[in-house]
């Protein structure tokens, strides 16, 4: 009976009503990061640095800007480390959320925002051999993303390009395409889910 009541209680209340799992390894790591322990920050970098860098390269399309962004992201992670709550999200989710927010901020702060067809242009440049090998690899990967985007319905593709890669706010996108904000959010959410399904399908085909 007690067990049943406990299950029922947590199903009604949700896990965030429980005490903080202070012995959880990721929680302890972030507490160490919060007080600026260098070993902890190094461990955080070892686990997530490559993922943060890849996302930065995809958003900013240049090594130097991506490296700057990675440093800024880890400073942000240090500043917000004491807010990490393992009951609400896994550590990788937290790290990538901070990263994505930072990269979107970077794009929003640029005077000239990237155009929606830039991913395609990068793909064409790589085909002409005008870039070095590393860039060609990067552009080929972005070409895969661009192809995945092309497979989406027009509405979903448009809102993802504008909100996610060009940094327009959802409200701006809503005004640009003259659609209600709720419609933009739904299309964006569905599009991102389909993009992920597309990526998983491609990965499993390799």
């Amino acid at each position: 009976m007690f067990g049943f009541c406990t299950v029922l209680y947590f199903n009604i209340r949700g896990r965030v009503g429980e005490d903080l799992p202070t012995q959880e390894p990721d929680y302890r790591l972030m507490r160490r990061v919060a007080i600026g322990e260098e070993d902890a920050i190094a461990e955080l970098y070892d686990r997530f640095g490559a993922l943060v860098y890849k996302l930065s390269i995809q958003f900013l399309s240049n090594n130097s800007a991506a490296e700057d962004a990675v440093q800024e992201v880890f400073v942000r992670l240090w500043k917000t480390a004491d807010r990490f709550d393992p009951r609400k999200a896994k550590l990788v989710t937290w790290v990538m959320l901070i990263t994505r927010r930072h990269l979107i901020d970077c794009i929003r702060r640029k005077t000239v925002r990237p155009k929606s067809h830039e991913l395609n242009e990068q793909h064409q440049l790589s085909a002409t051999g005008e870039q070095n090998t590393s860039n060609i690899v990067t552009q080929e990967r972005n070409a895969a993303l661009w192809q995945a985007l092309q497979a989406l319905p027009e509405m979903q593709r448009t809102v993802i390009e504008r909100a996610y890669f060009q940094g327009f706010t959802l409200r701006e996108v809503s005004l640009q395409i003259e659609a209600p904000l709720g419609t933009v959010k739904s299309a964006l959410s569905r599009g991102l889910l389909r993009l992920r399904e597309h990526g998983l399908k491609d990965s499993s085909a390799l």
């Binding site: 640095g49 890849k54 440093q71 880890f74 807010r83 901020d105 990067t138 904000l181 959010k185 959410s189």
Partner: protein
Amino acid sequence: MANEIHNYKQLIELAVLDAHGLLDPIESDVFTRSFHDAPASIQDEIIQMQRDFALDDSLLPSDVPNSSLKKQVLHAVAEAADQEARRLAPLALIGARASAMRGKLGTSKQTYFWRTAALILFGVAVVLGIMAVESNQRATRVAQIAMNLNATSTITNTVGPDFNLFIDNPYCHVTRLEREYGNNDGYIRVAVNERFGGGYVIGLDLLDGEEIIIQGTTADGEVIELARINADGSIVGHSFDIAKELIPGLTIAAVDANTGKRWI
């Protein structure tokens, strides 16, 4: 039942947007609140889904970072920590002065008696507060807003049109403040427009009757009062004036006007 399914679908949609950093800070807060109120099974589903999104690198470039980047990252964090320590020094002094004053006041048996009485009364008040129906209604109200895909519009209707000038504004820097000690109830967000000056403060789910002072420490170390908010509803907010020249290097904190407890 149909309504529950509808809410569940909307919550999942918001979770996808949240995982991609596409919700503005206020909407992210109300999503968090809604997540908090969801059953454990749905929380688990959202946590797993957001984790899968975060780990998915199938459409990311295959580039690997330069080996020197780790050292650069460690250096950048150490430098930021030094800067932060210098900026927060004036606030630390305020705390030290207060402690020194408390030390001079001393204590007596009468003081202990009144402190004990106050603690007991405080305990009773907390229990009553937790049981208060009004508190539940407030939480429900915020959760309802979270479920609404047009959360920003709903908040705007509550706090007024000035909110629109700061939310979703790429020139605005938003500071997130939480209670330094105690539970996690309530959020305060302070947006300052780095290009044109001016700011906006919004409080969500604050305790009834709370009066919060928003303070800024300028790059020169001067502490200034930016705004005050009085919690007379589930969502309170208003704009405030600040010259754009004062914004670079500005550190924002808040303090409870009645108890002196800090938000950082």
